[in-house]
Symmetry: C5
Subunit: 320 residues, 5 copies
């Protein structure tokens, strides 16, 4: 289904029209927004051919899974972005895929997002009687994509310090598994953010970048800084999780060492002593020691001596 919003310059009003009735030549004042979220492959082809999109751009635009990129050919720019559609970083279903094709007065959008609230935010706002510029829409969508990460990242900071407190003192396997999921998700969004950061970084370094012409340097720089900040935050959080994992392991290792010390000392002292007691608990008829009057206390004394000797040996070895 092709949803087409048309801004008629004469009436200064937005109206939803049928794609087939769209005039072939658009006046410079007209605005068109074509929403292909629910379009099938044929409708998609129809629209792309109508605006004479080149094959490589058309192919990339049609994909539902393409990493963020920017490409400009002739009048049209293809901008692919990815927003964060899930509630937090413990579970990652899929990103919000934002495919945009735009010229100065046409915006073709195809947005896939399983989170209806975010989908709503990623939809251009039409204001009756007001001729939005296409650049404004694209700018708004880009900022909303950035915002979809930022809120979750800021919320994650608190979760992270809680994890830090927990892991070292009362860590358990569920928390460990949670951290593993976090790391996995942060890696994925870090990659998406790197692509998006690079789009705007490249634009800033290129003299004649179309983005600079469409939005102006301050806005592109703002885009860059927002995604750079998101990228650096995910980097840092990921690294902090890694530190936590290694710190957790180091602590475990040290505690194992401590417990091992206790276990080894107690076992080394009492297992041989128990063996000696076991010997004199045997029921052989002929065991001469059993009848000696002083035997019991001699054995007790020997046992005590052995135990104390073992303690001194451990002391000498620096075990306590």
């Amino acid at each position: 289904m092709i949803l087409l919003q048309y801004f008629e310059p004469e009436t200064q009003n937005w109206q939803q029209i049928d794609f087939s009735t769209l005039p072939q030549q658009l006046s410079a004042d007209a605005r068109v927004w074509i929403n292909l979220n629910d379009a099938n492959a044929d409708e998609l082809q129809q629209v792309l051919q109508h605006f004479a999109i080149t094959p490589t751009m058309a192919e990339d635009f049609s994909r539902q899974r393409h990493p963020p990129k920017l490409e400009t050919q002739a009048d049209y720019s293809l901008l692919i972005l990815r927003g964060y559609a899930d509630a937090d970083f413990s579970e990652y279903a899929s990103s919000a895929q934002v495919n945009l094709l735009y010229s100065h007065n046409v915006l073709i959008s195809m947005i896939k997002c399983h989170n209806p609230h975010l989908l709503q935010q990623l939809t251009p706002q039409l204001i009756a009687g007001h001729r939005n510029t296409v650049a404004d829409w694209v700018k708004q969508l880009t900022l909303n994509v950035a915002a979809s990460y930022l809120e979750k990242l800021i919320a994650f900071e608190d979760e992270l310090s809680e994890l830090e407190d927990n892991m070292l003192h009362r860590g358990n396997d569920e928390q460990m598994a949670l951290m593993m999921r976090y790391r996995s998700v942060l890696r994925k969004i870090n990659r998406n953010l790197a692509y998006q950061k690079d789009i705007f970084a490249d634009a800033l370094y290129e003299e004649n970048s179309p983005l600079l012409q469409q939005f102006g340097r301050p806005v592109v720089r703002d885009f860059y800084e927002k995604f750079e900040r998101l990228h650096s935050m995910t980097d840092m959080y990921y690294d902090q999780l890694s530190d936590l994992v290694s710190g957790y392991m180091s602590t475990s290792s040290h505690q194992i060492n401590d417990r091992m010390k206790v276990l080894t000392m107690i076992s080394s002292i009492f297992i041989p002593l128990t063996f000696v007691a076991g010997i004199y608990g045997m029921n052989f008829e002929y065991m001469p020691e059993l009848t000696w009057p002083a035997a019991y206390f001699s054995v007790l004394a020997l046992m005590a001596g052995g135990g104390v000797a073992a303690l001194f040996w451990f002391k000498h070895k620096g075990w306590w």
Copy 2:
């Protein structure tokens, strides 16, 4: 064996001819594809000398194991690519080696691939009555090389999330060994992809790159993006596997710690008590305590006291 397909401009038709009958001077409209997959060393030399290939290019072309590269001298370009020929990433026999030498109307190919299905895809398609350009063939081969990685990488993503679920809860040595094999294979293809990515990245940055002239910037950029994406995917999957290995170890370490705690506490309490019981199980004739009426209950009370004291000591030490 030299397989030679010749497109005669006059008849507009493809025909398989003998290498010795190939005209020394080709008309601009003619096309030649020489398939050296099954050629021996002599035949190889014969063909390379016929087209006056320079020695360094000839040497690299003749190798069956050369990392991906691009070199252009005079009319001929040498493009070496590597596709992924195995079924998945758990076993890596060898890559598909794609050696191409081409001018604007001659393509010499030597492809080694143990997977017949992929070999088929890496073979130029001749269309009767249609004069393919050599650039089209090379483009198609390059895209097919990229595709040979992509399908396996996308399939691998699912395998990876399954591994993630398994490792933390029911990990075993077979899965660990599988992960080690995956890591080893991903490292190898990551290196191949890095070479291939760099070929096209270099071309994009060089003003007069032959690739840009042969294919045009949008196509070269498309090549670059495809290999860059593959490279970044293998990077990410490799890193996720590494995270998994370290997470697995951290979890193991923590579980060892937990078990150690239980073992040490139980051993520390009961081994000494058993020793005490062992003492009074000895059969010495003269053991005065044995005849005291309250001895048994005193010993029991002492044992209980010792056990409780140990528990408190562990509690005090924060073990539970």
Copy 3:
């Protein structure tokens, strides 16, 4: 609350005036410092609009949590810095956020800092009868921001060598937890310092950088070197902590190994022997061995033989 200090060129004196009485046109000799530390959102807007700050700069200036950055548009530069406000690196509440907007004769500052001593240092000094230049203030604030890290980092060096001595010999969980907190804090300030270093590095590489024009190359280079040094120190300290964690773990592992060796040898020798003693301690009526005269000494001899054999086996295996 808007605190406004005005330097009247005629009287050559500083006086605190009300914002509403500020002349719309400032003479080149006048100086204005507006302190918005305690301003509310409305007052903030009022000031920013009065000086016609562009929206993106105004938005960044208004944030209480924005990473360090520098932006110049028209006459105004926005400089955001972050100082270290906590007593040491074991606890990190929040950074001192220093937001500065300045032209050649106006400084608008908004500083959030929970440490009153540092806040004092981050406040421009007014000298009666003396016309400070705005650049001097900004320079002083920047140097004070750098100094807020330096003192703590130099103090940390000693703490670190103490930790190094402790961890390997008498490490415990509290110290491990402390090191984890240090690592977490150093990561965070490392990121802040990287942003601040980059601000000045970028300025040095840009011919027409406003910073170079305002402060001169030697001063900007000095800023860069100071933050670069701080950044490299946090990097190094962080890495040394990581080395310490891994060294600690390696030592733990080795000690576990040593204890395991003792435990396994003693258990392997005495547990089977105790079992044998246990057999002959059973009270069955018909146990023929019990009545054999030589049984007791034979069993003792067998036990001794078994123990010695086990010792040789361990020796053979290289356990001691």
Copy 4:
């Protein structure tokens, strides 16, 4: 001892002459190769002064242990290379040091190599009646240096996959030590290869590089690609060994965990039960339970109950 081979243009023949009889002025057609492998310090000085080598170049040339480098001053180039002289990567005695000083018709070489076979390969070949160019010799030596690594690296690949199979299933300390030695050697040759790669990479990026003038771009590019490939191979093998070490540790950790589980469960169940049995094995005269008719079976039932309860507790805790 100075070994001097002189190609007399008139006779078109090579002859070994004494250094003192070398004409001060060489005709452009003459060729001289001076072999200083067995020269002492005085002879070395004599030769270097004869050809007026600048002091810094002379100093570097005289060293028997200098990392690979290239320097050109006036007519002479100093090229220092390092080949791999040992049989494989398990033992690293020292590299083959190849110090070359050359102009268009003079080659001074000093090669230290403990492997006679490689030394032979690193010696320029003189062909009677044939005027070799010095550049040909240097090219041949450079290719042979590269080859000295390549054969061992290709052989190492097989060794590595064998190690991979072994380590995870039947790893032992000898193999671990072998891997440590491999890692150490690969690090060292990786550093040598990095220097050699950079020599040729720098030459490719420099317009007026003497190397480009002496050998032509295709040959220098070939040198670069060969050393780059070697460097990337050692990098990869090193990383694969590191993966193997960490995988080995992860597997060990998991197996320890598994064994710990068995040990802890069995100990936790049977050690307390043995203690109970020990109590009723004590020989106190007054132990009222001993005479109760149902005591034995009650205790057995209690023991069974305790054991089953412990099993359920472990089950509940997810231990099996």
Copy 5:
């Protein structure tokens, strides 16, 4: 105390004069070396003001702890270097701080070094009747700084291979602690060397670098190569130590695993058997099995059966 050596062009001789008698205008042929090693703050200020050093350079020169840097303003260059003053890498007290301020005929030096032998080497040599150039002194000092690292690094190589042999076979906690100290020291000198390497690398890339004008490109390149080599050596040694730490841990882990296997098998077999023996060692009056004639041998058979079954179970599990 200000030590001033003055070379009078007329007498061609060096003489130690008082700072106050130094002529304000120096002839181009005169040379002055001012040694401020033992100067107090006032004397320092006096000298710096006499030569009109700019404040930022004066401030950096006066510091006793400033990382290596180079700065040139007007006629004077500030060069700060750091040498290695300790005997080896097991203990790091502090670096030798070499602060130099020089013009073409004035050298002001302030050197702090706790090692008198190195301090001696870092002192400019005056030769009677000979007019040293200042550049020669600075060159000599720079080379001596580089040499102060090199000798210790070459000696360290042997120590490292000894450590490699020791750690894997007879590693203990003292060696581990030594390795941790080495790593810590190598990190610190690596940072110092990075700064010093960068000073000369920057000079090589800058067309009008003052260093190039003072020393000529071959000498600066030689400086660069020396420090680059030192830097790459510390990098490599540091990494080899890290490999050693991880290899050590991997070996420990594997040995723990091996010991755990023995302990678990022996405990799992004999602890339950001992329990059974303990049951029949209880002294209950009514234990019907005790009187059965075949009971003893049945129990022995059952025990043997249980032990063998356990062995098979472990065999089946692949434990041996």
